[in-house]
Subunit: 203 residues, 2 copies
DNA sequence: GGTAGAAGAATGAACGTTCATTCCGCGCCT
DNA sequence: AGGCGCGGAATGAACGTTCATTCTTCTACC
């Protein structure tokens, strides 16, 4: 059913190559948790979509909560690395922002389910300490950028936390609307929204 | 427990004054659905927080789904009316935006739980047609404003849908961050964010 | 190279628990 | 005294999880 997704991101999950069952479970859980929510998804359903027995899941994950936390940590970490890696810090902040925005939109385009999953489970009560920690790391990276904008007097006078929440919120709003079929995210839309967001925070 | 909230919004729910049980159930459900999610909230727990018997809920609501839909419709409608009512259309759009932004922030401040509830259940699969319809009405109202901005050549060249998703996203991001304790929403913050968002969409 | 046997991975029926919902006896108001 | 609204124990379905069993894979020895 979701074999395309499987083959696409299989290599991404750390694994000792046990026949791909762990990956199949993770991909099935990602899909179902995203569409139906954590409490709305029954474990046997995950097993069915993954093409494994119900008991098999518990050979790889201690519990349903452990499963959702592994998913959350994996994708949050992956998102953070994908967006922030190798961004030159010796170019103007406006140009850095261009790179970041492009990568944000690309991530949502390349991994739409993962993006929706992360959004849906943001700050969920069943996330453990490790999930919260990586959540916090991402937030700090975002805020850090705007602090640098403030230091260089490029951003308007507002706390970095506020600028971060506005830009991140706009990003989420944009992707969510496109996911709901409001519009397609074309290169033109990416450029327009990037300029919008930059104008929202620049001095 | 949440008596303050009860006494505050009791009058808002349409009711034939049955002793306030319907309102108590609605308020308890609002609180619990918001904090634990729809599937994560057990009906007996709702009954306990509402201070009624478990069976009593079913005297007022046909099912758990009916309950969440009544809540969603009520608060979405209330939000829409609160934000859009009596806004003069003969003043500059920039001034209209000022009013809208103030009301949006006020709504989130006055009804933080309702705001979080609406955000959490946006586009949830268990929402019925009527809930979707009022969801759509709100969206159209928002988009309509930006269409007028485009007509008057005040907004930058981008589709109204895109401008709407960015501004609404920024609003949600701002409120969510303050809800997570990142900052307080002071009059200064409201003004800064309003200017931010206007600059994001203006020509 | 082929076969026997061990080891561990996978299974899905079964378990105890918890859920949404029902139902019936109690108590309050007239 | 009667009737209506209420509470909370009862109910059956569905949940997350377990475990006895089967299936697969790999090794060792002839």
């Amino acid at each position: 059913m979701s074999n395309v997704v499987h083959s696409k991101v299989t290599h991404l999950y750390e694994s000792g190559e046990t026949g791909g069952k762990r990956e199949a479970i993770l991909n099935a859980a990602l899909e179902l948790f995203t569409e139906r929510g954590f409490h709305g998804t029954a474990m046997p359903l995950v097993a069915e979509l993954a093409g494994v027995g119900a008991g098999t899941i518990y050979r790889y994950f201690a519990s349903k909560e452990a499963l959702v936390n592994v998913l959350y940590q994996y994708w949050n970490e992956f998102q953070l690395v994908t967006i922030t890696r190798d961004v030159p810090c010796d170019i103007p902040l406006r140009d850095q922002f261009h790179i970041y925005w492009q990568r944000l939109v690309d991530f949502a385009k390349d991994y739409p389910t993962a993006f929706a999953f992360l959004e849906l489970h943001y700050h969920a009560p069943y996330l453990d300490e490790k999930s919260r920690a990586i959540e916090e790391r991402g937030h700090n990276a975002l805020v850090g950028f705007f602090e640098e904008c403030l230091r260089q007097k490029i951003a308007r006078e507002a706390s970095a936390e506020i600028l971060a929440s506005i830009v991140w919120g706009a990003y989420v709003g944009l992707v969510r609307a496109s996911r709901n079929g409001r519009f397609e995210i074309t290169p033109e839309v990416i450029e327009q929204s990037e300029n919008s967001c930059w104008d929202a925070i620049r001095r």
